[in-house]
């Protein structure tokens, strides 16, 4: 059968303002339950919300970065629902007049690019956190629930895409691109594990050109989970269709441990949020000078930086991507380049060994124990033949662990390679003299005898001979014996 997968995403990102959307409570993650609440975010009668200007600016910046039209006038709505995670019994959100709409973001799939439409970007407030008490630890079967409103009222942007994505890989790529945009704008922490970046998806599988039934997937808490859940769901829907069945329109929950999605056991529930304009908040009317000022303050976006890293430094795309899609690593790289060594060699070390060490230790690049000066020094030591690339790996690891500079480590451990040809030649001659059997084996055509002789050279120099020089000189000296 001729299947077509269609995916649209709905993403929520917490904005990294200091205070909440409509009150002055702190937005710092975690803490004891209900230590960051006030009468406004607890929904006490008679209190009034006042919008956080910074949050509005952040949302406009995102709208601009996603090529959206910024509304001349935008209003807040109340979204009414019964669930204890919002003390007011409604969430302040936006409905038919969002802050921005009609944008796009392009993703690079290697073989091709895709422009993904952005339907809207709007502002709303986050909900509180519920802990369900009971054996299952989940809402079903819980005896009671504990409500923590520290998160209630933290500003959120909701980003809704057009159903333009055609595979789970594209969905993952889109999320990576969007996260990078948020990171470059500096408006969100983007930590999927802490829930500051969340994603729901709609996925349908159509057959022979007709549209399939839309299924909503929730609870994907990492980039990997997003791709796995969508791949699972794509296959599940195809299997249903192949067996002649019908896909049910429903909401399904991704179970990370089991690697499957399952239908949520909700009672037949007509979503009817009875949206109406929030009377306590006046409209937002971003006047053109304000929007222009924000537009001028837009930083370089990840896609632009990727193009620049490739053209300016001559980097291969895969290496440039590693550097660009981690803003702090990219900054680290550029700081290192400014110290003057070869940009391509620096990129290999930063995107390779250093990124690996940082990852393993869960340290962000801006807090790396090896500073840009250290990496520059390391590249210089390799480029000038003082140490081999192989040795440099160990030196970097040691510098990372001890904080010592590469140069100090090399001199303390006497690691400098012997790149003095006279010194190496003397050792080569000695090895040839002391190993007549291996020499004659080699001359009889036994290639592995060369390896043995080379090993002897390295042993006598305690591994410090420049391997390339030593090997060339050994072959040369043996030739003269023929």
């Amino acid at each position: 059968m001729d299947f077509e997968t269609i995916i649209g995403l709905e993403i929520h990102a917490e904005l990294s303002t200091k205070s909440k959307m409509f009150c002055g409570c702190s937005t710092v993650f975690g803490g004891e339950p209900n230590t960051k609440t006030c009468p406004v975010c607890l929904g006490h009668p008679g209190t009034l919300p006042v919008a956080n200007r910074k949050a509005i600016e952040y949302a406009i910046l995102l709208g601009l970065a996603l090529n959206c039209e910024i509304a001349e006038r935008s209003i807040f709505h109340r979204k009414n629902y019964f669930y204890p995670d919002m003390p007011k019994n409604y969430q302040i959100s936006q409905y038919d007049i969002p802050l921005s709409r009609n944008g796009f973001l392009e993703i690079d799939m290697g073989e091709y690019k895709r422009r993904v439409g952005i339907i809207r970007v709007h502002l709303e407030e986050d909900t509180g956190k519920s802990i369900h008490v009971g054996e299952s630890g989940r809402i079903h079967g819980a005896e009671r629930s504990l409500e923590d409103f520290n998160r209630a009222g933290i500003p959120l942007v909701e980003i809704v895409t057009e159903p333009d994505l055609r595979s789970p890989e594209e969905a993952r790529n889109f999320m990576m691109e969007l996260r990078a945009v948020l990171e470059y704008l500096g408006i969100s922490d983007c930590k999927m594990e802490e829930g500051s970046l969340r994603c729901d998806a709609n996925i349908s599988v159509g057959v022979g050109g007709s549209r399939g039934t839309k299924v909503e997937i929730k609870n994907m808490n990492s980039f990997r989970a997003l791709q796995r859940a969508l791949s699972f769901e794509e296959k599940r829907q195809r299997d249903v269709l192949l067996k002649g069945g019908i896909v049910t329109q429903e909401t399904r929950h991704w179970d990370e441990a089991a690697g499957i999605t399952h239908a949520l056991r909700t009672k037949e529930e007509a979503f009817d949020y009875r949206y109406f304009p929030e009377p306590d908040l006046v409209p937002i009317e971003p006047d053109p000078p304000w929007v222009e000022e924000l537009r001028r303050s837009l930083p370089e976006m990840p896609a632009e930086r990727l193009r620049r890293f490739i053209s300016e430094y001559g980097l291969p795309k895969d290496i440039a991507k590693v550097l660009v899609y981690d803003k702090k690593l990219g900054n680290f790289y550029e700081e290192t380049v400014r110290k003057g060594e070869n940009p391509i060699e620096i990129a290999k070390w930063v995107a390779g060994d250093l990124a690996g060490l940082l990852n393993e230790a869960s340290i962000d690049a801006d807090l790396s124990p090896v500073r840009p000066g250290g990496v520059s020094e390391l590249v210089h030591l390799v480029e000038s033949g003082v140490i081999s690339g192989r040795m440099a790996k160990d030196v970097l690891k040691e510098a990372f662990e001890s904080g010592e500079s590469p140069r100090q480590i090399v001199s303390r451990k006497g690691l400098s390679q012997i790149a003095d040809s006279n010194e190496i030649l003397a050792i080569v001659k000695q090895v040839i003299k002391e190993n007549p059997q291996a020499v004659s084996d080699y001359l009889d055509g036994k290639e592995q005898a060369l390896k043995y002789l080379m090993g002897q050279v390295m042993k006598l120099t305690r591994g410090k001979a420049n391997p390339k020089m030593a090997s060339e000189m050994l072959v040369e000296a043996l030739k003269m014996r023929e």
Binding site: L42, R53, F82, I139, L146, F149, R274, V282
Partner: protein, 94 residues
């Protein structure tokens, strides 16, 4: 505009209130009367009038992004009928 019994049942369900048959009929009539009253307004030609979501001509009322002191947990949960370790406790949701 007439409200049906089904409309009343739907609204009651959304509001999580339980109504007897007599109450449903009572609210059906009352809500119909309210809508009928509002219908008079809909006879006015408003095609050139912007929808009014707010009564006062005011926009862009914002505050600076500054942290203010929050309530203590004791204060925050003081009015709650049931709390546990600083968290508001609510009965079984589903």
């Amino acid at each position: 505009m007439a409200i049906s019994i089904e409309d009343v049942e739907h609204v009651a369900k959304l509001a999580r209130i339980y109504l007897t048959e007599e109450e449903k009929e009572m609210f059906r009539k009352q809500l119909s009367d309210v809508l009928e009253h509002a219908r008079v307004i809909s006879e006015v030609d408003t095609s050139t009038v912007e929808p009014t979501s707010h009564a006062i001509p005011l926009s862009n009322v914002t505050r600076e992004d500054e942290v203010r002191e929050s309530l203590t947990v004791e204060e925050a949960t003081k009015n709650a009928p049931w709390s546990d370790g600083g968290a508001f406790t609510v009965p079984k949701i589903i």
